[in-house]
């Protein structure tokens, strides 16, 4: 090697060494959050509060945030493939309903196995209720730390309701018919797609949780029966699918395109923002993040034009558990990659992130119902009212490894009806054979 080449090589080595400061440990954290985009507040909180404070306290650990801008289902896909090949971030945001299927597939390790004593002795557990802890648990093992829980409801545009001659302040639908009547009046008054109930494959889990489940609970049924068997044929399923058919196919009360196109969920948000939709079934995240000031789908003058109502059962008293109104809850949190090189440091960061101090700081970015009882609920009428009214009514998804696959079949079943391709009976028959193929006939039940 000539002298010149040698000095060039040495220089390159030197420059590379200078460019990467010598941290003892580098950690990566991924969430479906992008500053200025989806879940912006979470990304800002991590970038501005959690990571700087953690790095200041632990100078030998460096943390990098990967902002994932795709859909929930795409992140699930990436994590599943990453975790199965030993790749992926050290810590990642995670939806609780995926824990069983990941854990059964060997793609997650329990914190007990991965971290051990530090996890068991964490001060935070005293302040996290068993219910919240169970969101990221499966068969007695804890796989992650929850950030909080949520509830689902009917969001309305009061300005549009008033315009259509419905007194928005006092209006509370007590049956599906009330909702449909209001939708018809709104349609007459010129609102393009008055009522949106999520359906279809493109929306992924949002279809199951924010659409199908909210209607199905109104018929008094759940996705599984009391013994945990999947219901594959029932009047409740048919009534729910008929409701979809009425809204999207027969009467055109909702925006069918938003349910069928690839970017449908954002379309439904945009419709609500632009006053093309007056009633939308969504989780409280819709209020806390999607429509909040500064967000992409910010509703102008939100406190005057937007309100929420309890989602009614099909008929008063006909809902799940004999209730008049229904809701369903989920929860998200953070898990540690089972293949991480530094499980202890990853846990150190996760515990720091979920400390009372950082969780309280998060309330400034995005107020919400936090998993820790020692983090005060901010003075937000919306959160106080919805949690008081809906938490007592709510239910949760089955903690079952097959749930994820069944949920995809639910999305397909609703899409078949909403697109007008199949009748409710045909769609249910397809759902039945698909679910039997997934869970086995002995784990299903027919109520017809």
């Amino acid at each position: 090697m000539s002298n010149r080449l040698r000095s060039l090589a040495l220089g390159l080595v030197g420059a590379t060494a200078l460019a990467t400061p010598a941290f003892a440990v580098d950690l990566d954290i991924t969430c479906r959050c992008v500053i200025g985009g989806v879940n912006s507040a979470t990304a800002e909180w991590l970038e501005e509060s959690v990571i700087p404070a953690f790095e200041a306290a632990n100078p030998d650990i460096s943390v990098t945030l990967n902002q994932f801008g795709g859909e929930d289902a795409q992140l699930t896909q990436q994590l599943a493939l990453d975790f199965s090949t030993g790749a992926g971030p050290d810590i990642t945001g995670f939806d609780g309903f995926l824990i069983p299927s990941f854990a059964e597939g060997g793609l997650l390790k329990s914190l007990d196995e991965l971290v051990g004593d530090d996890y068991a002795n964490w001060e935070g557990w005293e302040h996290i209720s068993p219910g919240i802890r169970s969101i990221l648990s499966y068969e007695g093992e804890t796989y992650g730390v929850g950030l909080g829980t949520d509830v689902r409801m009917l969001f309305v545009r009061t300005d549009l309701l008033d315009q259509a001659g419905i007194d928005a302040a006092s209006w509370q639908p007590s049956s599906w018919d009330d909702v449909l009547d209001a939708a018809r009046k709104l349609k007459e008054s010129g609102v393009e797609a008055p009522f949106q109930l999520n359906a279809g494959v493109a929306m992924g889990e949002a279809t199951t949780m924010q659409g199908y489940w909210m209607a199905l609970l109104g018929t008094g049924e759940g996705v599984t029966d009391a013994e945990g068997k999947y219901i594959v044929e029932s009047k409740g399923i048919l009534d729910t699918l008929d409701l979809y058919k009425t809204v999207y196919v027969d009467e055109g009360l909702g925006d069918q395109r938003a349910q069928l196109l690839a970017d449908g969920r954002n379309r439904s948000f945009a419709n609500f923002r632009d006053g093309k939709t007056a009633m939308l079934v969504e989780g409280d995240w819709f209020y806390r993040a999607v429509t909040s000031p500064g967000a992409e789908f910010e509703v102008a003058d939100r406190d005057n034009v937007m309100d929420w109502k309890k989602m009614p059962a099909q008929e008063p008293g006909a809902g799940w558990n004999g209730q008049d109104f229904v809701s369903v809850s989920g929860g998200t949190g953070y898990v540690i990659n089972p293949n991480t090189d530094s499980p202890q440091e990853a846990w150190q960061f996760l515990a720091f992130m979920m400390s009372q101090e950082q969780m309280t700081a998060f309330q400034d970015y995005q107020p919400g119902i936090r998993s820790r009882s020692d983090v005060p609920i901010p003075d937000s009428p919306f959160l106080t009212e919805t949690s008081q009214a809906l938490l007592p009514l709510t239910t949760a998804r089955p903690n079952d490894a097959n749930y994820n696959s069944v949920s995809q079949e639910i999305q397909r079943m609703t899409e078949a009806v909403v697109s007008g391709e199949l009748s409710p009976e045909e769609a249910m028959a397809q759902y039945k054979s698909a679910v039997i193929a997934i869970v086995g006939e002995e784990n299903t039940v027919s109520l017809l």
């Binding site: 199965s84 059964e104 597939g105 196109l261 995809q408 899409e415």
Partner: protein, 315 residues
């Protein structure tokens, strides 16, 4: 693949001219051989093996997959569900229609037409046409996919802007006629290959043939039918088989439609992706992959046998 196979025999005869001893040659081949077997042959048999199991990525069967024999294949060809939307048979039929419409009729016919037309135009026009058509072929797929998505969008798409500005009603193409969208897309995308192939084929015909036809007073159509077409028959067969294979395996329409709405554009390749990487059913996905491999093998065999027939008289 084809040329190698065809050239095997002459090479063997020319062993005397080899630069290396056969042992040294083998030694040099070994690394490549190991890589090929590691990354091509092992996965090939691995996929066949997985297709006989109920392996998934998530859930119980991820850690403890069971040998299920032909169950995956039987499920794919289950007559009760075969033709249902979102099932294997549905996407197979859809793919056949797609190949017929976009590859055989679209790409080949359009390519042939373009190639014939640019034989007679001035060289500048010919070069401009070629540039445009080839640009459609060489641009990266992701760029093309998103450009078309933006072009076709109902609310802010360029196509509807043009249509409404000249007084036509706007259309919702991606939702109302997604199949025809991907047919037009694939035609547009792939016509370049056929055009180039036929262009060089037409150029190889001695001009005197056409001049003689001109003297005899033949029309353009007669020249095309009686001189052009018969002389490029071999090229047409090559073209048809290649674009059939490519179109059969293409995945790009996924960027436009995600296989939807309601499975109406779920080609076999997209179906395979969905089953394996969205539903995480590796066993079933592998079975689809094996069937696709067999279909491709059939195409390749047809192509090879035709290739051999074509070369035979020359050697």
């Amino acid at each position: 693949m084809t040329t190698e196979t065809i050239q095997t025999s002459p090479r063997r005869k020319g062993r005397n001219f080899a630069l290396l001893s056969s042992r040294a040659g083998a030694a040099f081949l070994t690394p490549a051989g190991i890589l090929v077997s590691l990354f091509v042959i092992v996965p090939f048999f691995w996929v066949i093996f997985v297709s006989f199991t109920n392996r998934t990525l998530l859930g119980r069967t991820a850690l403890n997959p069971e040998f299920v024999g032909l169950a995956n294949y039987l499920a794919l060809f289950d007559p009760a569900t075969f033709f249902q939307r979102g099932q294997f048979g549905f996407s197979l039929i859809l793919t056949t229609q797609f190949v017929l419409a976009s590859a055989l009729i679209g790409q080949a016919l359009l390519g042939l037409l373009l190639a014939w037309l640019i034989q007679t135009v001035p060289p500048t026009v010919k070069r401009i046409t070629e540039t445009f058509v080839i640009a459609a072929w060489i641009l990266p797929e992701v760029v093309i996919g998103f450009a078309w998505f933006a072009f076709l969008d109902r609310d802010a798409g360029t196509l509807n802007m043009i249509l409404t500005s000249i007084g036509f009603p706007p259309g919702d193409y991606l939702l109302d006629s997604p199949f025809w969208v991907i047919v037009v897309f694939n035609t547009w995308r792939g016509a370049a290959f056929s055009m180039m192939l036929f262009n060089s084929a037409f150029s190889s015909i001695p001009p005197s043939y056409f001049q003689a036809a001109d003297v005899a007073g033949a029309s353009s159509w007669q020249k095309f039918r009686d001189i052009g077409l018969p002389l490029i028959r071999g090229h047409i067969v090559t073209d048809l088989i290649l674009i059939t294979m490519w179109t059969f395996n293409t995945f790009t329409p996924f960027l436009l439609t995600n296989g939807g709405p309601s499975y109406r554009t779920e080609l076999v390749s997209i179906y395979n992706y969905r089953v394996a990487f969205q539903d995480f059913q590796f066993g079933k996905g592998a079975a689809v992959g094996v069937i696709m491999m067999l279909i491709n093998l059939a195409f390749a065999l047809v192509y090879l046998s035709i290739g051999r027939k074509k070369k035979a008289p020359k050697t």
